[in-house]
Every structure is written in structure tokens, then in C-alpha cells.
Symmetry: C2
Subunit: 215 residues, 2 copies
């Protein structure tokens, strides 16, 4: 419950951008937005500043702000960066997670398994997110955690796509189990390696999909 209209509008716009409501390069007209949100241009402009600063839009002075949807190349780069961030979290988490953290991680993993058995994709994605977030937290580095959470959120919409690939779900679960095992054993490098490829493969699957569409 934000108090400032600008904040509410920023969140809403962010959601709209994420959900692909805007085309890449589309100009965000201050007047139109002001009408849509039934406010003046002032809060709109402040919300746009937020989008620009967070990299979701580009501002050209005296011209306006234009939304920037990441293209295939940038998405691949983001997935690769995510993979490295997750690997880093795993490395650190392996020596820092408490027994309680590991128990939570095990629970989250079980709930992932369960979701698959129920063939409940929504639940799977939700629990999968939780699984990874527990690892971010386990790194015991709130700055790194924040970076990881931000990028995870940014990639959320695109991560679902890998679902389409046959057998990916089972493979994903196997990797989860490996990750859990390595973290329990305090095997930092192994945990990092599995996490890295676990995430990187998502980018590759995404790439395959893009390529197959453009064929």
C-alpha cells in the first residue's frame, strides 16, 4: 500500500512492461498515462524516472522515454549473469547455511516434487522460485541476495518458457536434488557448478526456442 501515487504507478508500469504490454521502443506518453491513471503529469514523470533508472526504459531528453524490452541477445546475457549469480550464492551458501536453512530447502524441494506429481505447473514455478530464494538467502550476503532477487524477478516471465521442453521438468528436479545434496555436504564448488548449469540451461533452452521460432 504505497502512499505515493508515483510509487503505485511505477509498480503498475513495471508489471505492464514485464507482461509485455508495451512494445520495444514504444514511447510512454506522459499525457496519455496521466489520463489513464487519472492523475497529473507530475507523478507520472517521477514514476518514469524509476523505470529509466532501473533500466527498463530509456530516456532521450526532450523526446520522451521509450520502453526497452530485452531482445534475445540481452536475454541470453541476463540468463548467463543469473547463472553466475546463483553459482556465487551456492558457493557461499554451502558453507553458511544453517541446518534450519537446509531443512527449509529440503521442504521447498519436496513441494516442488509434489507439484510435479500434481502436474501443477503454477505451483511448481512458485515453489521453484522459493527453492532458489532460500539459496540466495543462505549466502548470508544481503547485497548479493538483493541482486539475485532483482534479476530473478526480471527473468520471471521468460523462465516459464523452458517448461515447454520435454523432460526438462524431471531433469530440473534431479538437479535440485544434487544441489541440495552438495549444499548439505558443504561442497561449495560442486554446488556452484550444478547451480550454474542448472540456470544456464534455461538460457540455452530459451535460445533454442527463439531459434526454432525464427526458423
Amino acid at each position: 500500500m504505497d502512499v505515493r501515487l508515483a510509487d503505485q504507478i511505477a509498480s503498475t508500469l513495471e508489471q505492464l512492461v514485464f507482461s509485455g504490454e508495451f512494445q520495444d521502443g514504444e514511447r510512454l506518453d506522459e499525457l496519455k498515462l496521466a489520463e489513464q491513471f487519472h492523475v497529473s503529469r507530475t507523478p507520472i514523470r517521477e514514476a518514469l524516472q524509476v523505470l529509466v533508472t532501473s533500466g527498463m526504459a530509456e530516456q532521450i531528453p526532450r523526446r520522451g522515454v521509450f520502453i526497452r524490452q530485452p531482445g534475445p541477445v540481452e536475454l541470453m546475457e541476463m540468463f548467463e549473469t543469473m547463472a553466475e549469480l546463483e553459482a556465487a550464492c551456492g558457493r557461499l551458501a554451502a558453507t553458511r547455511m544453517t541446518d534450519q536453512d537446509l531443512a527449509s530447502l529440503g521442504d521447498a524441494n519436496d513441494r516442488c516434487q509434489q507439484a510435479i506429481q500434481n502436474a501443477d505447473h503454477d505451483q511448481y514455478y512458485s515453489e521453484n522460485e522459493t527453492f532458489h530464494q532460500i539459496i540466495y538467502r543462505g549466502a548470508a550476503n544481503s547485497y548479493l541476495e538483493k541482486q539475485a532477487l532483482q534479476l530473478q524477478n526480471r527473468l520471471k516471465a521468460y523462465r516459464r518458457i523452458q517448461l515447454r521442453f520435454r523432460g526438462r521438468l524431471k531433469q530440473s528436479m534431479d538437479e535440485h536434488s544434487q544441489i541440495l545434496q552438495h549444499l548439505q555436504d558443504g561442497e561449495a564448488e560442486r554446488a556452484a557448478d550444478v547451480l550454474r548449469s542448472h540456470v544456464a540451461v534455461q538460457g540455452e533452452k530459451f535460445h533454442q526456442l527463439i531459434a526454432s521460432i525464427n526458423r
Copy 2:
């Protein structure tokens, strides 16, 4: 040369925050800033939004924006994250840097050596920055590069501190040479490991210094 006052002000404020002009928790008074910059509150507010979004300040609705200087704990976390980002860059760069990139890196390293011989600390820090930036670029992932550059910039002011430690400069140079060698050999994991500890040690030195001051 920004066209918008808000942009100029945002950059200036950013510099002021970096240079420690503001205390942690200090409120940024819109009216005072407006007077100082000889503008109205509007561009000031838009500049403040930028600071808040980039995490340099916190906004409490109806109360104002308060600057957030990272404390020792957060700084350590940032150094640790930087270490992981640099390791990631090194890992990727090891297999992606061109001969030309490697030549540039060697040149930068030579200029670092030279700066040390000249006992020119300013030049050393400038060239050291370049050395690392060439590796970021070498990762051939512009998103990751951007993240690394951002954090490097954020930590700039604090990195200088390690200089105070006897023998650190020579050690640093030795590490640089190792990194260069591993990158030339395409030894991804070794390059990553050396880079990680090369940066992580800065955080540790920083920690030592803080501890010694508070003693």
C-alpha cells in the same frame, strides 16, 4: 552534457554522496537543494527519485529521502559480491577474449607496473581500474559488464583504502600477472579463483582497517 537539470543534479548528488559529503541518514531537504542549485523543487525531486531507485538513498513517504551510506557490514557484502562478479567475468573471459583483448590487458598491466615504479598512486588506481574493466568487457556479456562496472564505481572510494597496507601493491601486481597468465592460457577456473581472492582480499583489508580504527 545533460540537457535536463534533473540529470545534472542527479549526477552531482551522486558524486557528493560518493565523496562522503552527506552523513548516513541525513535528510535531503528539497527546498534547500532547490536553493543551492537555483532551480525549483521539480527537477530536484526527479533527481532524488534516481538516487532512491539506485539504492543510494531511502524514501519514506511524507517524510523525505534520506541518504544511505553503506556501513561496514554492507561494504563487506558489496566487496564479496564484487569478487564473485569479477570471478564470473574472469571465467567467461578466459574462453572469450580475443588476442587483441589480451594484448590490451597486457598493456594495462604494464602501465600498472610502471605506475608503481613511478610511485604514482593515482595513475596506479586509474590503470588498475582499466585492467579490470578490460576483463569485464572480455566476458563478452554486456549485461554482466554493466553490473560489474556499476559496482566497481560504487566501491571506488573504498578500494583506495587497501593502499595503506604495506606490501599490498606488490602482491596486487603479482596477482594481476597470474590473472593475465591464466586468461592467456584459457584456464577459466584458475582465472576466476585468482580474481575472486584478488578482489575479496580488498574487502578483508578494508575490514581490518575498520577494526583497527574502532579498537
